[in-house]
């Protein structure tokens, strides 16, 4: 189809001539991925605690040391009373307050029991929950050490051996890097496609194209194919950097990843095209695309687990292309899943791509009504 060839040639000429956009496209994803993968984790570390120690005994000091030596907490302040402690919490100088009652050591020696008070800033409830969880574990360990040498009958103890498969060091980057990379490339491609077409509409070049005998689908393919190829290049660059910088395990075959991207990108392209069909100005196109993409990203399962979403949301997610992508990346890049395991996902993506692109072609009007 020579007409298609000329259209693709034109698109590439324009892409390469854009001195700002091209480098942006190649560098941005990598840069963002690197930057954000370092940021994106929910680990609790370095939480600031303020300790009010009314006891000031060897035991209380040992307890405080246990907390601060753990790496989870750091000592931010030593307020003298409850009121100044509250102030630390109010000004965000501390995330957690520890209050050790007077005579704690004496109570402990006599009755083998004592109570301390922990107050957490629970505005970020999950963070607070985790912090209290860690504090609890630390206390239990502390108790273990204290009671080990005691003459009284030792309590029964359940030892928990835990391990994490696929990511033994619980390294968030392993998980986040492929996900964020795919996310950014998807986003960019969707925007580019949408804006590119709307721009032609805004400046009028689309009209000249519409008056030629070139059929709709040729015009559409002439736009999609160059961006398709562009996305593959972006993914390749990103994955290479990821492998080098982060040493992401690439257990699943790399070929499978590429094959998938080959079929996945058309989903985003089609989406971008569809949006452009309903936008009159670049501004509108931008905002519409932004609207959908943010929602898709948030619901994709990358930042919050899919299972905790209500059923109706999980149904809606079937229309979310990014959700499939995240699932695939996780299964293949981290768990080394083979084709059989992801067949369902793959078919869903294919179906989605076909549907959305058909819709885009159907709603593209060479002749405006």
């Amino acid at each position: 189809m020579p007409v298609l060839f000329f259209l693709i040639q034109k698109e590439f000429l324009q892409i390469f001539r854009n001195r700002i956009m091209l480098p942006l496209l190649l560098i941005m994803p990598v840069f963002q991925t690197v930057l954000l993968s370092f940021a994106a984790n929910y680990e609790i570390k370095n939480l600031a605690i303020a300790v009010t120690d009314h006891d000031r005994s060897a035991t209380s000091r040992a307890l405080i040391r246990k907390f601060t030596a753990s790496g989870y907490f750091r000592l931010a302040a030593l307020p003298a009373d409850a009121k100044s402690a509250e102030a630390e919490l109010a000004t965000d100088r501390a995330d957690l307050l520890l209050e050790i009652p007077p005579q704690m050591e004496r109570d402990f020696v006599r009755e083998k029991r004592a109570t301390i008070r922990i107050t957490a800033n629970a505005i970020n409830a999950v963070k607070a929950g985790m912090a209290i969880g860690y504090a609890g574990n630390m206390l239990r360990d502390f108790n273990q050490e204290l009671l080990a040498g005691s003459p009284a009958a030792a309590p029964a103890r359940i030892e928990i051996a835990y391990s994490n498969w696929y990511n033994p060091r619980l390294d968030y980057k392993t998980f986040m890097v492929p996900g964020i990379l795919g996310l950014i490339v998807s986003m960019i491609i969707c925007f580019l496609t949408a804006l590119n077409i709307v721009r032609e509409r805004e400046i009028g070049t689309i009209e000249q194209m519409n008056v030629t005998p070139a059929p709709k689908w040729t015009f559409i393919l002439g736009k999609l194919i160059p961006f398709w190829l562009l996305s593959l290049v972006m993914m390749a660059v990103g994955l290479t950097v990821g492998r080098l910088l982060f040493d992401i395990p690439m257990e699943g075959s790399l070929g499978l990843v590429f094959l998938y991207t080959l079929f996945f990108t058309p989903c985003m392209l089609g989406l971008g095209f569809l949006i452009s069909n309903f936008s009159d100005t670049q501004q509108q196109g931008m905002f519409t695309a932004w609207f959908f993409l943010v929602i898709c990203i948030l619901m994709s399962g990358l930042f919050t687990p899919l299972e905790s979403m209500p059923d109706w949301a999980q149904w809606m997610n079937l229309l979310n292309p990014i959700r499939y992508f995240v699932e695939f990346m996780r299964l293949v890049l981290l768990k080394g899943a083979g084709f059989e395991d992801i067949r369902h996902n793959f078919l869903s993506v294919l179906t989605y791509a076909v549907l959305v692109n058909s819709l885009a072609v159907a709603t593209y009007q060479k002749r405006v009504s």
């Binding site: 700002i20 956009m21 942006l24 954000l36 370092f38 940021a39 994106a40 929910y42 680990e43 570390k45 307890l63 109010a90 965000d92 402990f108 029991r113 004592a114 109570t115 008070r117 922990i118 107050t119 957490a120 800033n121 629970a122 505005i123 999950v126 963070k127 607070a128 969880g133 609890g136 108790n143 204290l146 009958a153 309590p155 029964a156 359940i158 928990i160 051996a161 835990y162 391990s163 994490n164 696929y166 619980l170 392993t174 998980f175 925007f191 936008s279 501004q283 509108q284 931008m286 905002f287 932004w290 609207f291 943010v294 929602i295 948030l298 299972e307 905790s308 299964l331 768990k335 395991d341």
Partner: protein, 364 residues
Amino acid sequence: MFPFLKKEFLHILRDRRTLMILFGMPVAQVLLFGFVLNNEIKDAPIAVLDPAGDYASVTLTNKLVASGYFHIETRLGDAGAIEPEFRKGRIRMALVFPPDFGRALAHEGYATVQLIGDAGDPNTANALINYAQAIIADYQTAYNQGTGAPVGITASTRMQYNPEQKAVFNFVPGVMTMILMLIAAMMTSITLAREKELGTMEVLLVSPLRPIQILLGKTIPYLLLSMLNAVIVVLLGIFVFGMPMRGSVALLAAECFLYMFVSLALGIFISTRAKDQMTAMFFSALGLLMPTMLLSGFIFPRESMPWVLQKIGMAIPATWFNPIIKGIMIKGVGLEALATQTMVLGGMAVFLLALSLKNFKDRL
């Protein structure tokens, strides 16, 4: 200048689609965060391998399920069956008991239980193991209390500011921060870039309007729009999700304005650097919005980020504004507690406005 302002307003109001999205977006986000997205763990599918199935192991398993965090997806016959379940993505954790769990606990006072997490999703794995550990420890304490053994130091905990641990307390301020930034910065940068792209900016610049008037004329509508948006988000948070409003409304409004000025200045700055709308948009989205979402502490805690990123986060206005909203609405504090953050924002506002104005005057 007034007719100019009016024209800008009309222009915005006429673009229904963009308007719908400008207002629909924050509402959708708040609703999403409120009803759909949460980090809470609930009914996570797990596999149990319990060869003996004695009283202790069964009780412990039931305790785990009763917590609501776990849901038994499948019971396994042997250790070899674990891997396929993980690979297919059917379970998030495996609970493995030894064959003599109950007996060992009763007679030797010591038994082991194994937890295997699927760290392909480290967030969830970490949380699940954390919760499981806590529940097992509780079981251990209860078991021991039954036998009269020493308990040790325990903690009474209090969840300050948010006793019911509602997620909304964290995300409504976050969404507000994002929205105010989005509208003020992004829209401003795109609008100004549009004038540049279409060539109408030159027309404005040769008119009797002074540059500052042009800037104000273009940005005030968006200032008001984002204010309106913020109000909607706050009202949604309060009336639909039960967020408190313990502090002073006046202070909140003032701080919002301050923050918006900063965002506005950023938007203007971006527009002076971008040659057309697409570039402005990419700069805003990738250079402003993504870092704001990810580095400001809204979603991911800042304390656990590498030092470099924490420092970069300090240059982001949202990082300072987030605690201000939380402070006013949830903690009910006044300006004294928020002095540092307010001053930083104020400094940013002045600096950026001056910089943008200068840039705006120099470049066309």
